[in-house]
Symmetry: C2
Subunit: 720 residues, 2 copies
């Protein structure tokens, strides 16, 4: 392009410019890789794309789910590489005042020293990934709305139950392209994980919140675990006699590192993206949902802050909720800024318009166009009550006592049905969790704050037009500010739910007693319950229809992209995906370029001696000594720490292995840059970056700083 | 160097590494340029260095003093280019509610529209620069201490008085190399300056405090003035019939711009540097003076903030003092951080040790070494009371009422002597200023705050050892916190100086009445006065001896540098200096590179629509239009705004013209980067940068955004 900044400028000025969203974008299902073999090879991949097609075979079956994120096997004896922050619970579980592994890190010198993880920590190896679209869709055929939703739900649950009959297996049905395809995922669940090697916090989490989402970064965010199984080779709970698990495959650690421009690829379990949402949904997100959510959350933030200024006790009780509001506000605002910077609404609108124009001349138009129009109508219909839904939703998530009352009434309602038919979250196995939540209220509740939060939300609600009103809510809280104020004063003055024993007591009461309780807040919850159930039913019906109709939108999009010469990946849904790209600098803003590799010099630069920039003395000493032989970059003799790529990632990709052109392990994904927060909706190649630990740094630490030569040998990259 | 980051690392770790301080360092006297002709040519200068040797001849006599900073003539009709912030007073003077030139900028379309500057605004053209060392030093020969100081002072004053007999001339005696050389500077002072062209604030000061000291920068910090003289060609006060001044020379605006790596040079009036101070003074600055000053100022900051929290009126009165404290704390802390980053103490110490070792074998050692040792002893002796001097100094600068009392007593004291013999600042011509200061107190004084500030300072003073105590202060304020508290309560309860009329009344009283006043605070000031006079005498005696002995240190340093093949420039002293270097990126920190040119794209990126990032609509429209023909960079078609160089600058260099290898005007200096705050002591080539307006941006604004074609034509670069 002759004028490379024009796009940037134009986007900032709100002009309509086509951003090349396809460059390096994509969270591909492994099965799609053979179909994009050509661009993959052109990008620099030296292996055979066909060998990556089956995620249950080597090498992709070495990529596993660890905790809520990703990890990979890196030895034949079950050594697992993941992030320090992913394994943090394991490190914490093994720490105490006498042996602070968080602060000091941990190096096991022999297998007997390896420390068992917390018993609920799990690792899953995918052993099956079968397309069951026909079976699932057949079950819902002819149905619409809630019936469609329930049919998909029922066949999915039945399929999972059948699959999990095999011992040690965890199964799930996942849907690709918003209901177009369904897959049965079958995973071997390992339950005996042990801590093998962890750097000190001040390496693993160097920079902490200050550096979170920040590049340049200098964290050694890695930890090594080992998977164990029973002597019979089957998954087992921790036992002294368990033996290391021999995975079907493991990744090979590279001997060399990467440099700017090198091909890299990554495999992992990205959580959720919205890239293929409709133009109307993009507009809703940018023009209404994000700014409104930020506005409402800021209002709640101010309520808590204002009250907390004069009431230290209230400030402490709401500290966690306030922090959470602040984090969300920051994140949503970042997403909004990013989507505006990328001019996402216009770009998506023009793209969709072009698709529809193209579709009009295609034979499938007569089938797909009506479906697409219906999707549009459904979305528009949903938007008609979006203000109400947002406010009433927050009424339940941002209150403590009212939420408790609503949960108690709902549980009473569900208890009247057989366990299997109860709503998820209210089954027998959930009751322990509910009790815990009701107990927590004690540390997080203050009546004055809750009344003010509710006042803020319900005052907004009272101003909505009649079309968004809910009779039960109007009846419960009145339609004027005076009525609301009076009602809240009366209810919060009278309810006994603020008392822990009283609150927990209702858990033990029989359903009919709860329903007829004369506790002021339980009365309100009982009054609201029909509305909540009705709105839930409407939501499921809405979702059922979207699940039924969106596949038409996706069919059109996939066909249109094919005509453009582009493949389409399904939006992320926590299934294994592969992304490829290269080691890439970030032109963060005018005249500012972030180079894609950081070095140990940056650790010293950032180091203040105080948390979170308090690199341990052994590390500072080793940097001063500069013994980087075999690890440093050949040309500059600088020791790499982290590197940056344009790989397509999102939450859930933590711990994903980063491979070079030969498929060897060169990095470990652990974060994104701040500018990429909006990538869940739109991949903007100018700003989307992923942040990885350079495996040379890990190897150097394990060789020279906190030595573990036996582990390096096990990984096939012995100490120098 | 094989390992370029080692220096950085080592410096950060406190290891002793020689930093190449000579690369591109230097604020050269023009007369020195022929002696550095070789490096100047090697750096890329294409002109004849000999032609730059005389600052009273072209082209350097086109570089003038404007306000407190620098400017340059850029047309034969007296057009002057300087910074928007340098000419801000002129713009403000011509602004009112009806015609807000600050907000809207100003474009004169013909000479009759040019607006007169505030009457005290001055421009000075240097017409003489003569070395008078022999004369000055002869006057002081054989003297020491206070007598040496007074002799230099007297001969300087007499020389200036003699020189200023010529009408329209302002003269000064400046000393180079700390008393080694003296020069008589003769300047033609022009008094009729007019505003010709100023961009709106949101261009001239785009980014304001947020971007201050920041690179990347996007300000169009320039303004055009015109110098006028009487019809007889002589300096004159503003009069309608005055005519444009025809300067002896003017700079030629370049048609082309610069790019990374290009040679650039700059001429201007840098204020003060300390580069040739001794190793002991570097150690004092880093290890004691900066951290202690920051600590004491932070204590005063907290006093003001604490009081202001509960007393809004006090907060308002001390807002300006608080802001000034904050700015100083930030600046001193920045200087401290920078000097530590550069490991300045060790670097200077090793350099001085090497000089002394070399000197030992030289014939001049027997003469110079004793002088150098005496300098060391004087500095050590001065350090013996540094805590006291700092605290008692702040007692006078950080109080309002006590300072007023001290000033009134001192003025009474000085009024007893002939005007010519009065101390500078207390002469007849200063009395108006003193009255103004006493009047200002009313808006800046609160008795509770002043007592707390004094308590903080004097409590620190009370803890000093006896060797630093001053009997008069002990007598006035007691030696215990109880005595201090009691005394301040009594004095501030009784004094009438808080009343403006009372305070100003004392200005009119005769000296004896003031000296015998029974106002509680004037009594304290009278009690302290003998001590203040005694300490002032000691300081001047100390300075006199340093002035006498430092030349020995400088002789040794100059000889040692000569042996190293390096020339030595005198520390900055507000005389015309020339610096050369190149357009240079800044590797700000690990993996972060700042490119040396910003572009208009960055204006759009930064623009929030709110002050200080509220670029005017005409500018945003012009950027969107992108009509950069003839101004943009040829290769990228990007429109430059500001650029970065490694030129050696300090405060006072604002408005300095930046020239290319052919001596043509390519930029206008207006700021430094934050990392360069410590450059007043040490030039670290890794971090020292200067920030300039790219003249292409100025020309484009004057062509396409706020057109002034007649001015472009006058400058010889007509609109395209």
């Amino acid at each position: 392009m002759k004028r490379p900044t024009f796009t940037l400028l134009a986007a900032a000025l709100g002009l309509a410019i086509a951003i090349p969203t396809h460059a390096d974008e994509g969270m591909w299902m492994p099965s799609q890789l053979p179909s994009i073999a050509k661009p993959l090879r052109e990008a620099g991949f030296q292996g055979n794309p066909a060998e990556l097609a089956d995620l249950t075979k080597a090498p992709l079956n070495a990529v596993v789910k660890v905790g809520g994120a990703t990890g990979s096997f890196i030895s034949d004896d079950g050594l697992v590489l993941t992030n320090h922050h992913v394994a943090f619970g394991v490190i914490q579980y093994n720490s105490n005042a006498q042996r602070d592994l968080i602060q000091n890190g941990f190096v096991s010198h022999e297998r007997a020293e390896e420390l068992p993880a917390n018993p609920d920590f799990r690792l899953r190896v995918t052993t099956g990934f079968d397309r069951i679209s026909d079976k699932v869709l057949a079950a819902a055929k002819g149905k619409t709305g809630r019936a469609y939703f329930d049919a998909i739900d029922a066949i999915s649950k039945a399929t999972v139950a059948e699959c999990e009959r095999e011992s040690g297996m965890r199964c799930s049905v996942v849907n690709m392209f918003y209901g177009r395809d369904f897959y049965l995922v079958k995973q071997l669940e390992l339950r005996d994980l042990r801590l093998v090697y962890a750097p000190p916090r001040a390496i693993g989490n160097y920079g902490d919140e200050v550096d979170n989402f920040v590049w340049p970064r200098h964290a050694g965010d890695f930890t090594l675990l080992r998977a164990y199984v029973g002597p019979d080779g089957k998954p087992a709970d921790y036992a002294k006699d368990n033996v290391p698990y021999h995975p079907p495959a493991h990744l090979q650690v590279a001997r060399d590192g990467v440099k700017e421009g090198d091909f890299v690829m990554l495999a992992g379990y990205p959580g959720i993206t919205y890239r293929h949402r409709t133009a109307a949904e993009f507009a809703d997100q940018v023009q209404w949902r994000l700014p409104t959510t930020v506005e409402v959350m800021q209002q709640l933030e101010h309520v808590i802050e204002d009250t907390g200024r004069d009431d230290r006790q209230a400030a402490i009780r709401y500290a966690s909720q306030l922090q959470s509001l602040k984090n969300n506000i920051k994140r949503f605002q970042g997403e909004l800024d990013g989507l505006k910077r990328s001019d996402a609404v216009t770009v998506r609108r023009k793209d969709e318009d072009a698709m529809l124009a193209w579709l009009a001349a295609q034979p499938q138009a007569s089938k797909l166009r009506p479906q697409i129009d219906q999707v549009g109508q459904l979305i528009a219909a949903g938007n008609a009550t979006r203000e109400r839904d947002l406010l009433l939703g927050m009424m339940q998530t941002q209150t403590q006592l009212l939420r408790s009352a609503i949960v108690l009434q709902r549980l009473a309602h569900e208890r009247g049905r057989p366990d299997a038919q109860r709503e998820a979250g209210y089954q027998l196995r959930d009751e322990e969790l509910i009790a815990g939540t009701l107990r927590q209220v004690q540390r997080r509740y203050d009546p004055a704050v809750e009344r003010r939060l509710l006042t803020a939300l319900l005052t907004r609600y009272q101003k909505l037009p009649d079309t968004q009103r809910v009779p039960e809510f109007d009846a419960a809280f009145g339609r004027t500010s005076e009525a609301l104020s009076h009602k809240l004063e009366q209810v919060y003055g009278a309810t006994q739910l603020g008392d822990e024993a009283a609150r927990l007591g209702w858990l033990k009461a029989d359903p009919a007693t709860v329903a007829k309780s004369d506790d002021a807040l339980l009365v309100v919850a009982a009054q609201l319950q029909p509305a909540l159930l009705r709105m839930e039913d409407e939501r499921k019906s809405h979702e059922g229809d979207l699940l039924r109709l969106r596949p038409g939108y996706m069919d059109a999009l996939i066909a249109y992209r094919q005509k453009q010469g582009r493949a389409v990946y399904p939006d992320a849904n926590a299934t294994l995906r592969v992304s490829y790209g290269k080691v890439t600098p970030l032109k963060a803003r005018d005249a500012v370029t972030y180079e894609p590799l950081t070095t140990t010099a940056g650790i010293v630069e950032k180091n203040t001696g105080a948390v979170p920039f308090d690199a341990p003395k052994p590390l500072l000493d080793a940097i001063a000594k500069g013994d980087y032989e075999g690890y440093a970059e050949a040309k500059t003799q600088q020791m790499p720490v982290d590197f940056l790529s344009n790989l397509d990632t999102t939450g859930g990709n933590s711990g994903s292995p980063v491979l070079n052109a030969k498929g060897e392990l060169v990095g470990l994904n652990f974060d994104s840059n701040w500018e990429a927060v909006s990538a869940s909706w739109m991949f903007d190649p100018r700003y989307k970056r992923a942040i990885h630990v350079d495996l040379r740094y890990m190897r150097w630490l394990m060789d020279k700083v906190y030595p573990a030569p036996q582990l390096l040998k096990e990984m096939g990259v012995p100490a120098r």
